[in-house]
Symmetry: C2
Subunit: 363 residues, 2 copies
Amino acid sequence: SQPLRIAVLPGDGIGKEVMPEGLKILEKAASQFNLKLSFEHHDWASCDYYAEHGQMMPDDWKARIQDCQALYFGAVGWPDTVPDHVSLWGSLLKFRREFDQYINLRPVRLFDGVPCPLAGRKAGDIDFLVVRENTEGEYTSLGGTMFAGTEREIVIQESVFSRIGTDRVLKYAFEVAKQRARKHLTIATKSNGIAISMPYWDGRAEEMGKNYPEVTTDKQHIDILSARFVLQPDRFDVVVASNLFGDILSDLGPACTGTIGLAPSGNLNPDRLFPSLFEPVHGSAPDIYGKSVANPIAMIWSGAMMLEFLGRGLPQGEQESYLKAHDAIVKAIETVLASGPRTPDLGGDASTQQLGDAIAALI
Amino acid sequence: SQPLRIAVLPGDGIGKEVMPEGLKILEKAASQFNLKLSFEHHDWASCDYYAEHGQMMPDDWKARIQDCQALYFGAVGWPDTVPDHVSLWGSLLKFRREFDQYINLRPVRLFDGVPCPLAGRKAGDIDFLVVRENTEGEYTSLGGTMFAGTEREIVIQESVFSRIGTDRVLKYAFEVAKQRARKHLTIATKSNGIAISMPYWDGRAEEMGKNYPEVTTDKQHIDILSARFVLQPDRFDVVVASNLFGDILSDLGPACTGTIGLAPSGNLNPDRLFPSLFEPVHGSAPDIYGKSVANPIAMIWSGAMMLEFLGRGLPQGEQESYLKAHDAIVKAIETVLASGPRTPDLGGDASTQQLGDAIAALI
Ligand SMILES: CC(C)[C@H](C(=O)O)[C@@H](O)C(=O)O
Ligand SMILES: CC(C)[C@H](C(=O)O)[C@@H](O)C(=O)O
């Protein structure tokens, strides 16, 4: 069969430093497990590109990558030269939307060897998934300003929740929960304050739940839910949330496991009509860029998620090697986290490259 | 001078259990420090009232309390009988808006004797203020549904940021920061995703900052900011946030100090054109109601904040006894937290009343 085509977009800042390590691991895994991957490199979707061209991506960006099976993405953003909302809406958020990557899947796991900021928690205690809506909700450029520049200035910002968008993320989350041991789904809401969209979200969740009698649910307002991530992280199994709430919870969750530097994510189009995108949750981190100290694990783990997702899309007989490669990479990450080497964020003095080498050696 | 008139509204659930303890302390403080307080009791703004009258408050609710100097408020909400958005929009959120309580002030402090969920933090390490916008922003009932009940259903939710509303909360936060030792203000945002209102918020913050050269600032996206509450809580001094973000941060902050059961809040109209409202951050907690196990400290601490706020509104000569009463109550809370008795939430078996008695005895 044809190789799987993967568009490689390092983006900005430490995205450019961790990407080579991610690729190193994917190439090692490909040779070990006999995967057929072909990589296509792009230097756009970056603020460097913007500096030269006045836009984040070439006009024909879609044509260039839409036939790929996946996008392997570093990080985007360089606020000193391009305002964040310009760089993000001009690249990452465009991918999510135009490729209808309506699920943002973010595992939260506490590993051996990673100091946990929460007292008394050990590896295994925290192990849940955040399923975030990824195309609509609170993230919009809809709205505007009235009486601009005067004392009476009023700014309206709109959020948009469609039935299609709401139902499909809820359905995905219920499906995922159903396949897990604990079969529990937490539904983030704020229907007591945000009085139109959130009661709607609650109602759709209740409706969807009727199809999943085997999944237990609880609905929590985002304020107390955030508090419980800190106080009772062991109670969560799968958490489903709107775009904004999912964004918050998928930084907060990883923080509770020690660092957001390890957290991977998959921006999925589960229907496989468009390429899905895999990226670390951490951003471009201008403060540490250029020193080769960035931890590449989130990039590498995102690569493993990509292999798993790609594998599941293949005919039965070809799936297994991809799933095995995923497991081998995650296992190698576990081993390196437990016994080193470590980058400075985890108290060591290994470089980005050394970490990549150490993980590659274990596969 | 006339006594200060305080409307007492216990509300629902544990609001009814902690209120008597709050009043016990205020009465003790009044007699010890010679304060002139007069209490007016109301049983509306509660779901019990709703059950009887089909609305949360009497039609003339405003007339009944608007001449008070403050509202001392327990908690509202009883989702089994009244949906949260109905009970809240029919009472608490109405007070905040119609009495223009545009500041929600929420201290976050780690105390001796309270087990901290964060590893290695001790009393004094965490001590900051959340200044939350309290009347507009994301909390609205504006918007609606199109193609209702069909597959094409679309729900629009609007957020509203006025220049007046934005500037006054920023100004208040800068003023508060200016008076503190560290003089640092963190500005919560999400301008990379929420593309109309949040860039506006950022711009107004930058503008306002020009008037406060002595205050250092940093702007953080709500996702990473939430993560840093867990990872680096000691770095915060004053945090200013929109209504929704302030809501999240002021539950998350207290969670990082061990429990949201202790957190107080002041819903302030700093211009004193309307009564301000003082309430615990915890809600009505249906799950523990009726057992006399609720921790009354948030209610009591909110009472102390009320005395401080009321005091500062009095002529110079009369202020001091109120400020002293505030300090005495906070001191008594510290002592009881450090050496007991403790309610079950903090690992003891004292009742709500016993805790109130213990604090009263120290004043
Ligand atoms: C009950 C709810 C509407 C309220 C809010 O979100 O403001 C509460 O969480 C609070 O923080 O006071
Ligand atoms: C960079 C930003 C727009 C993005 C988001 O908010 O979605 C990021 O925080 C993330 O979580 O992927």
